[in-house]
Amino acid sequence: MTVRTPFSRRALLAGAAGALAVPAIRPAFAQGSGPIKVGVLHSLSGTMAISETALRDTVLMMVEDQNRKGGILGRKLEAVVVDPASNWPLFAEKARELLQVHKVDVTFGCWTSVSRKSVLPVFEELNGLLFYPVQYEGEEQSKNVFYTGAAPNQQAIPAVEYLMSEDGGGAKRIVLLGTDYVYPRTTNRILRAFLNKKGIADADIMEEYTPFGHSDWQGIVSRVKQFADQGKKTAIVSTINGDANVPFYRELGNQGIKAEDIPCVAFSVGEEELAGIDTKPLVGHLAAWNYFMSVESPVNTEFKKMWGSYIKNDKRVTNDPMEATYTGFKMWAQAVAQAKTTAVDAVRTAMYGQKVDAPSGYTEQMWENHHLSKPVMIGEIQADGQFSIVYKTPQAIKAENWSPYIPENASRAKAG
């Protein structure tokens, strides 16, 4: 295990080892020959493999596709895949390895917030570039990360507005169910502030958290039923994560909670999660995303075709984080082409204002707050495991990564 490789300039500058360094005279795009390296930092084993392997496949598909088109700047792309194994410190180690040993030009990776938080200092120290494709709690903005998933205002708030609208059933009582980690906690804090502002009292809000991978939902679902029996239209807002969703939805179906009575809108349940469930009892429950596989747009048709022929399994679906990966990749490729280099600082500048026609059917733009403008869509679960889109915003919405509903952000200058 002695990978002795020549030192890159940026790592050298970053490290204090630079004190002894030879003057750094090599231009920024010195590694301008050879393939462009694309790091893939998604868990292939452990608890998160279930969600993240599809993103690894998406990046590999995009790399293959780009190479078929002749690469970028006349250089081929080469993917470097590592397995951080759902182990957060290992994420940091692998990030360092990608940047220092493999010297990747860009990295696509992470799913959970904690994995992103774990690698963030590494990317900042070594001035790397990370594309993060999953919806998250916001309250962050790093110059080394481009966030291509939704911020809370691009998902949670429109979804709750919909639930309270006439079309959504006019909910007056809200159950906030979540897995006990930072994304649900933050999202629910924002939602509570929002609901209070809309005139829903704290007594009409039930908030409950469960551990990761929670599998016995009997008690909670029956408590939700009790909460709903108070004579006001009740709806569930679920930020339940990953594995826990299948047993949750099974319990929901089995306890006979119909979407017409108590609709449940989820922020972490997409086509991929539904693939493990018989959705017939769940028809009508909702999800809020920025993309559904059922979107009808030429780009989406193309995207689905590309995925189908890459993965060679007609049962595999596309979902929102995959779309965010696709969009992020396209944007990065455009930015590199525009900057005519893969150097991080130049690419970063080129990223701002970059536009891509996304599979969502909208033109999404990268803003200087490192977040995309995205449309918000509400879908109802169908018997075939797909979503029927019952609502979408007329245009893409700009991200508010610093939520105005968190009082501590009030003092923050309304940064663009």
Partner: protein
């Protein structure tokens, strides 16, 4: 023909003015509009009571209704209203949302109240209960007069009560309140509370009715909590039973036990896949049980013969080794089947709710799993008590040398015992596939709980395993409402740790000389 006769009184009752025909067509046209227009159309169709609406509304609710760009409704290539062949090009499925679905439920209620099928009449009454419109009172009273089925009568009475509650006249409302108070259902409670705000003059009556319901609900909720505890206990029992054999009887710490459970769940997926489209498809789940037993047992035999037999008497080494085996099995499944969740469909008889006497509602699948767990326990006990294999197994456990001198092939018995324990784990996997994710990580979630159950119940005692599992399940569920799911679980874990140090051999300890070894 008789159906028509049956519908006749209803038709007479509902038959509106002569313009009904025209009203039907204009109302139906609204179905191709936006969600709001759809709701209105569905309501009108329900109010009209024209039986022709039924197939159209069914098609709408099941996603079979299509429309042409001009808004002509089409079902299966035919014009929905006229039945004439329709254009097949550029058809678009008519989409609905929850509001439309709610309206449909009310419309179905009106249209199906006179149906032949008892189930449909009950569901119709349920729809009317939720629709709670005073318009339905007359219809319900009439239907009730003809109804002979007890369950359907109850449902209709409830629906009638709810409809009366919505009536403008206070006297009718009072009737409704009394009736609702007598049902004891949480839905009725919800309706009453909703009505309370709108009818301050009836507050006293409503409060009385609500508290009557609350009294009955309290008992029901206690019963339901107990059921949840039993259900969790049955899951723990299933997961732990195989371990009770391999660990309790053989002293092997099988950290790959969870993976055996996982293999059982994947066997279910494979069996379902193989049988899909064959006449046997509805039997896929029962057939998975022996299949899962065999698969897990076969892996168990292979494991025992190649690896574990070298480590007898060194339980801690088996722990480390089987941890490695678990890693390999998990990754193998991940590479073969993919990391994603696999879909397992539940047969119809395992879905939904059963109402037990006293109005206690329990979920079907959990009920089946409790029964299944007890069945597996019975089979295990029977296999150990009453079969030749069980006899040999007990002999080998008690005294290996003497057993071997008596002609028992101890190696074979070891292999079979381990296979047996693994097979039980596989069967547990079939049950767990019904309530949990079928993913490569399935087993990891159960391994520690299983060990805790076995140790708590007393190693080597199946009765202890059973009582241990149900005790832990019940305690956990009783703590959960006020401590939350996580704290309840932590409390149970700490409780077990303290218990073990008071009684190191568990609930049902083997005593005397044999336990000293």
């Amino acid at each position: 023909m008789s159906r028509l006769l049956r519908l006749l009184p209803l038709l007479l009752l509902l038959a509106g003015p002569l313009r009904a025909q025209e009203g039907f067509e204009t109302a139906a046209a609204g179905l191709s509009g936006g969600f709001a227009a759809q709701v209105e159309a569905v309501d009108r169709l329900g109010a009209l009571g024209d039986p022709r609406a039924l197939p159209i509304l069914r098609a709408l609710s099941e996603g079979r209704l299509q429309k042409t760009p001009e808004g002509v409704l089409v079902i299966g290539g035919q014009d929905a209203l006229t039945g004439a062949p329709a254009a097949t090009a550029s058809l678009e499925t008519v989409r609905i949302n929850n509001r439309v679905r709610g309206a449909l439920r009310g419309a179905f209620g009106r249209l199906e109240l006179a149906s032949f099928s008892v189930a449909e009449r009950i569901s119709a009454a349920g729809g009317l209960f939720r629709a709670r419109s005073p318009d339905n009172i007359a219809m319900l009273e009439d239907a009730l007069g003809r109804e002979s089925d007890a369950a359907a009568r109850t449902a209709m009475e409830q629906a009638l009560a709810a409809s009366r509650l919505a009536a403008p006249e206070a006297a009718v409302k009072r009737q409704g309140i009394l009736l609702l108070g007598g049902t004891g259902s949480p839905e009725a409670r919800s309706l009453l509370l909703e009505a309370r705000a709108a009818n301050p003059d009836l507050a006293a009556e409503i409060d009385a009715a609500v508290s009557a319901i609350d009294g009955r609900l309290q008992l029901r909720r206690a019963a339901e909590t107990a059921f949840q505890g039993l259900s969790l206990g049955s899951v723990l029992l299933l997961a732990a039973l195989g371990l009770a054999v391999t660990f309790g009887v053989m002293g092997i710490i099988n950290m790959a036990h969870g993976e055996m459970v996982m293999l059982g769940a994947y066997t279910t997926v494979v069996v379902q896949g193989l049988l899909r489209g064959t006449p046997l498809a509805p039997w896929a789940l029962p057939l998975s049980v022996p299949a899962a037993f065999l698969v897990a047992a076969a892996v168990g035999v292979a494991l025992e013969r190649t690896l574990i037999r070298h480590l007898y008497g060194r339980p801690l080494e088996t722990l480390l080794m089987t941890f490695g085996v678990g890693m390999i099995l998990q990754q193998a499944v991940r590479l073969i089947f993919g990391a994603q969740n696999q879909e397992v469909t539940s047969p119809a008889w395992m879905q939904g709710i059963v109402t037990l006497p006293g109005g206690v509602e329990v979920t079907q699948n959990r009920l089946w799993i409790i029964l299944f767990a007890l069945l597996v326990l019975a089979v295990t006990v029977a296999a150990i008590r009453f079969t030749r294999f069980g006899l040999e197994m007990r002999a080998v456990v008690q005294n290996r040398r003497i057993a071997s001198t008596m002609g028992i092939r101890t190696g074979r018995v070891d292999a079979m015992t381990f296979a047996f324990g693994s097979g039980i784990a596989g069967m547990a996997g079939v049950a767990l596939s019904q309530i949990d994710n079928v993913s490569p990580n399935l087993g990891t979630g159960y391994i520690i709980d299983s060990f805790m159950v076995v140790v708590f119940g007393g190693v080597g005692s199946l009765a202890g395993t059973m009582i241990g599992a149900f005790t832990l399940g019940l305690v956990n569920k009783m703590l959960e409402p006020w401590a939350g799911a996580v704290l309840a679980k932590i409390a149970v874990l700490v409780g077990i740790m303290l218990f073990i140090q008071r009684r190191p051999k568990g609930l049902f300890a083997l005593k005397g000389r044999a336990a000293e070894q």
